[in-house]
Each structure stands twice: as C-alpha cells, then as structure tokens.
C-alpha cells in the first residue's frame, strides 16, 4: 500500500521574462513538490532563453538576424508556435501579428520623456509588419525584408504557463496552479475538490480586484492597457498595438478570459483588446467566459465564471 502524506501547500516564486511568477503546488511531501517545481521553472527559463529577442543565441534572434536573406531552420516546437500565431492572425483579422514587434521602433515605451510618434514614423515601422509576407513551413522560416522581426512575446508566456502546469501534473502534482505574471493555468482543484478563487486585477487601482473567477481546471488570462503605457496629450497610449494601424488600442482597460489553455485564454484576451468595439461579439463567438472593463470603467461580464 503506498503510504501517502497529507496534502500541504508549497509555494515557489521566481522571476523570468522580466516578470514575477508563482507556482503553488499542493502535495504530500516537499521533495515531490520541489522536484516538480524545479522541472517546471527550468522549462519556463528554457522557453525564455529559446524565444527571447534579447539574447543573441535565441531562435528568435537567429531568425531576425537572417531577415532579408536566408531561411532559418526551425524545430517542431517553433513550427507549432508559428502555426498557432498564424491562426491568431486569422482570427484577429490581422490585428495580432507576430511581426508587429518592430512597431516598438516608433512606440518606445521606455523613452523618457515619452512621445507619440509621427505618422511617418508609424508608416515606416508598418512597412516592416506583415505576417502574410513571412515564408515559413514545418522546417524553416524566412523574413523577406531586412529589418523585419518576429516576436513571440505575445504567446510565449502563456505557452510557458501551460507547459509548466502540465510538467507539474506529469510529476504527480494534482492540486495547485501556475501563475506567470497574472496568466493562471490550474493544475487541479484544491485538494478537497473545490475551485481556486482567482482575483482579477483592477486596471486602475493597484491593490484592488475588479472581479473573481473560480476554476477547478483550465486557465484565466488578462490583457490590459495598464501593463506598459504612457500618457500624452490627455490620452493613454498602451503597449497593445493594432498591427494594421500601428496604433494603440483604447476601447477597453482590460480583458480577462477563461479558456482550457492559458495560451488560448491569453490570445482571446489580447485579441479582444485589439478588436475594440467588436470584442463582445468576438468573445461570444469563441464561446468563452470573459470580463471586459470598458474605458469608462464599466464591467461587461459574459458567462458564469466571473463574479464581482
């Protein structure tokens, strides 16, 4: 008979992808929690190292370096992410674009003092945006113009959250969750079977929640205009840029979505932010529960998952 210890919480905080993350694993012994956490955190760091733009030895850097010249060989994981991004592009009618990272050249959110770029600057950056021009298949990818860039930032963190949760499950963890900078993937319910209560960050008040979601499985992810932004000319300019216009979205303060995978929840939330006034229809079409906070602070709730 296997001897089983009581289920107790083990928490792990770590930093990766320029954000704070947390694992909460409920299991019988510290050793198995430590083991699962070690493997899960290592995988998050692996994904960061592989897909970050900030390291010369990353896959992303290699692809971007070769822009305008040769195709770069890719592995199955990279190809699967490209395929997923391809479908995000389709579903967002081109607003979500893996090549839109170059818009940062016009919109520099780190610049002090910040400034709104000129139309010409935006147009110049937009010339290098265009997922449909990317030549890719299962084995290689090529950016056709020098200066074009791929950026996996829009999906990498959520993908990492899904993998971290599954690695914990594969290592015998049945209760707990992964929280990568606010994108939560549940490993399994609380040990007594009850759901986790996950607060949704208020987009304008740092220590307040704007709603609560209860999950026994699956994921909730939030996209908001408060993550990176600057204010100029009485307007908030956030980091969520519509790849078609090259300009920040302004219709919602935040969008939170419940989906089976963090990857999906994150994409739905981002696309909801990007499609603006069409977000409610878009989310209804995906059949997901969601909580939208409008520019004036009004709550638009869909489905039974979210509570105020």
């Amino acid at each position: 008979m296997p001897s089983q210890q009581v289920v107790a919480p083990f928490r792990y905080a770590f930093r990766a992808m320029a954000s704070e993350h947390e694992l909460q694993l409920w299991t019988g012994d510290r050793a198995s929690a430590d083991r699962a956490a070690r493997v899960a955190i290592a995988d998050v760091l692996r994904i960061e190292a592989k897909f970050t733009r900030y390291r010369d030895d990353s896959v992303t850097a290699a692809i971007n370096r070769a822009a305008g010249s040769a195709a770069v060989p890719i592995d199955a994981e990279t190809a699967a992410l490209l395929r997923y991004a391809d479908h995000c592009y389709a579903l967002s009618d081109g607003r979500f674009d893996l090549t839109s990272g170059v818009l940062r050249r016009a919109w520099d959110f780190r610049r002090q003092p910040p400034r709104v770029p000129t139309d010409d600057e935006i147009a110049a950056a937009l010339d290098l945006v265009g997922w449909t021009r990317v030549e890719w298949d299962e084995h290689s990818v090529r950016l056709p113009s020098a200066g074009m860039e791929l950026d996996f930032g829009g999906i990498g963190k959520e993908y990492a959250a899904d993998r971290a949760a599954v690695l914990c499950i594969d290592h015998g963890i049945r209760h707990g969750f992964v929280n990568l900078a606010g994108d939560v993937r549940v490993i399994g319910p609380q040990a007594d079977g009850t759901p986790w209560r996950i607060g949704i960050q208020h987009p304008r008040q740092a220590n307040a929640v704007v709603g609560t979601v209860e999950l026994i499985e699956g994921s909730v992810a939030t996209s908001g205009d408060y993550e990176r932004y600057f204010e100029a000319g009485g307007r908030r300019h956030c980091h969520l840029l519509d790849a078609r216009t090259g300009r920040p979205v302004a219709h919602w303060q935040s969008a939170s979505v419940v989906a089976p995978l963090a990857t999906l929840a994150g994409s739905y939330a981002t696309i909801a932010m990007l499609v603006g006034a069409d977000a409610e229809r878009f989310l209804a079409q995906q059949g997901v529960d969601s909580l939208l906070i409008a520019a004036d602070g009004a709550r638009v709730c869909r489905g039974p998952s979210f509570r105020s």
Partner: protein
C-alpha cells in the same frame, strides 16, 4: 492539421477584412467558426500543453539511492540479550517513462541469543552465537493508464533459514487522483535447517492477499485503510526450544488504518494509525500509534512518535514455570513473544534536507514491554523486556 510540409506558403489564406462588425453573410459566419476551431486545434497541437497519457501515472522520474544503518539491542533485568546490526542499500531506478526498478540489499549481523529466535528459555542460552543474514529484494513496477503493476521477488539467507518470496501488486488511481485502490498477492517458501539438528529440511509456505484504499478527504487529510489476509502451512515451531510444538497451519487477518492531518497554522502533520490483528494461534493484537511531523525553519524535520501495542496469549502458550501442565499431544510453547503483554515505543526521528537533493536522518526508538501493560492483565511470571534501536540513513536523489 496538415502534416505535409509546404515550401513557402502565404501565412494566411484570407483577405484581411477592414470591418468585420456590421454585416456577416452565412459564409462569413461559417468561416468565423472554422477560424475559431482552427485556433483551438493549433493550440492543442503545441507540445506539452496537455497532460500526456503516460504523464498521468505516478511513475518516478528521479532515481533514489539510500544507505541505511540499523542497530538494535534488547535486554532484560540482568542481561543484554541480543543485538542486531544491519546496513542496507536501497536503489530506485526509473527505466524509461513507465517503468521503475527498485532493489534492496541487507546484511544483518545478529549476536547474543539463539540463531533463529531469542527467548528467555532458549536451549542455547549461555552460548553467545553470531549469525549473519543476507537478504535482497527486487521489484519492477509498470505504470499504465492510471494503473501501477508491480512484480517483486525476495530472497533471504542465513545459516539455518532460507526464504524465497514473490509478490504482485496492482494499484489504480481514480481520475481525480484522490483515491487509490490496491490489490496485492504474495507467496513465500521457507526452509528451516536448524544448526542443532532438530529441524531438517522443514518447510513453510505462506500466501498473502491485500486489499487497500487510500482516499484524500480534503486539503489537509488523507485516510488509508487496508486488509491483509495471510494463510500459512508448515513448520512454525522453534527448533531451538526444548519443548516447542506449534500448529502446522496459521491464518492471520490484519486491518490497518492510517489517518494523516495537516495543520496549516503549525505547518505540522499529525499521523495516527491503528492496526488490529487476529491470529489463528489464538491471540489478537491492537496497535495504536501517533506521530507529529514538525518541519522547522532551520530545514530540520522532527518526528516524535508514541506507539502502544498489546496482544493476548496464543492458545498454546504455557505460563512459567514451564513445563508445568505440559501434555505431549497438545501444541505448546513457552516463547514469551506469544504471551500476553502490553508495550510502549517512544521514538524521535530527526531529518534534514541538504543541498544536492540529499536527505539525512537519524531515529532513536525505545521499547518497553510489560505483562501488566496489557489491559485486563498479561501473562504471569515474566520479566519486563526492553529494547532500543537506532536508525541512520542518507538518501540521494538523482
């Protein structure tokens, strides 16, 4: 998903609609649904975002190697009776994703009393004897779809006693992983050749059956209960005793229940266990045990344990002075381990996790046995009996 690689394809096979909000034709709606479904399919195709069937098992992914040392000594008023020193080596080796091997090697050195048993009326009393036992077991466990199937063999050898055993176990987890079922079967064949020539090529066969259930009750509590039925036939007597004749058949049924409760405020766990055993030799025993597992800030874990055990006498146990009332045609023994008594064990285990996935632990146990500690009174005319054992271990995961 398309599996065939296409060389240089356009990234998206549709035109970007400038305004999708207002009017939608049925074709557009169908296209919307297809795009929604395609995204989900693409997400599910990402590697490692859903648990795999293989991953749903509890197959160990790390190996363990552990070295343990066990030192036992018992005594009665006026005499140190017997001591056992026993180093052992344990290894757990994952073999691929769904298979694990476990093995143990033990070497015991026993000195003091008789080679086989120790007893106040031993026929070999007064002559110090040192015996050695070498034992090993091996077990292979396969993890398949929420099931674990284990097969094991064990072998033990000492000068007057050889034992061979085999076992099978099937464990199954519920889908929510909160419940585990277990069924086990075991068989052992022993051969006794006593050094004094009393028993020559005497045999014993034992068969065991186990059914068990482990249930997670809530966030802090787990209960485990199991029933073990054992049936044996063969030579049960002690060849080193002057007069010892025991039944050739033995049946025991034992029921074990363990309850573990985590106490969040103290960051401690309480473990309570109870075991009841019914023996066809005529005695029944009860064991209750309570432990407190207290992790400390320093990385140490302290586990004090208190155990109470009591048993009745076997129907053929004869009180001293034996052989008073001896009848040759009846089963009889003066083995005090088959007398009626109560016993208390107090123990403390100290464990510490070191860097490099190494755990060291040391445990001290003191045992005191008195006939009077049995509720309703124990067997008359017996001395108290004491023992202590120390265990130390070091374990490394890799």
């Amino acid at each position: 998903m398309s599996t065939k690689a296409r060389k240089v394809r356009p990234a998206a096979a549709w035109s970007v609609a400038v305004d999708v909000a207002a009017t939608k034709s049925p074709d557009d709606a169908r296209s919307d649904r297809e795009r929604s479904a395609a995204l989900i399919v693409a997400a599910l195709a990402l590697p490692g975002v859903l648990p795999t069937a293989a991953g749903a098992q509890a197959a160990p992914d790390e190996g363990v190697i552990a070295l343990r040392y066990y030192d036992f000594r018992d005594w009665q008023p006026g005499a140190v009776r017997m001591s056992v020193r026993s180093p052992s080596l344990y290894a757990l080796v994952p073999l691929g994703e769904n298979l694990a091997f476990e093995g143990t090697l033990v070497h015991d050195t026993m000195s003091g009393a008789s080679p086989l048993f120790h007893d106040t009326l031993s026929g070999a009393s007064g002559i110090g004897v040192t015996d050695h036992r070498a034992a090993g077991d091996a077990r292979l466990t396969a993890y398949i779809d929420g099931n674990a199937l284990a097969a094991g063999v064990a072998y033990s050898h000492e000068r007057d006693y050889v034992s061979r055993a085999a076992s099978f176990e099937w464990r199954r987890w519920s889908d929510d992983r909160n419940r585990t079922y277990a069924i086990g079967w075991g068989a052992a064949r022993d051969r006794i050749d006593s050094t004094n020539g009393v028993a020559t090529n005497r045999r014993r066969e034992t068969y065991d059956m186990l059914v068990g259930l482990t249930q997670v009750l809530n966030a802090g509590a787990v209960v485990e209960t199991s029933l073990t039925w054992s049936q044996g036939r063969g030579y049960y007597s002690d060849p080193y005793k002057l007069l010892d004749a025991r039944p050739e058949r033995r049946r025991t049924v034992s029921w074990l229940t363990r309850y573990h409760q985590y106490l969040p405020r103290m960051d401690a766990t309480v473990r309570i266990a109870y075991r009841y055993l019914d023996d066809s030799f005529g005695d029944r025993s009860h064991m209750v045990e309570a432990s407190w597992v207290q992790p400390l800030q320093s990385g140490f874990t302290l586990t004090p344990t208190l155990r109470y055990y009591t048993q009745g006498a076997a129907s053929f146990y004869r009180d001293p002075p034996f052989p008073r009332g001896f009848v040759d045609t009846e089963h009889h023994t003066a083995d005090t381990r088959l007398s009626a008594f109560g016993a208390v064990t107090a123990g403390l285990r100290i464990a510490k996790v070191l860097p490099g996935a190494v755990t060291v632990d040391v445990a001290f146990n003191f045992y005191r046995q008195k006939p009077a500690w049995r509720g309703g009174g124990g067997s008359p005319g017996l001395d108290d009996f004491s023992a202590r054992w120390i265990e130390a271990g070091i374990e490394k995961r890799f």
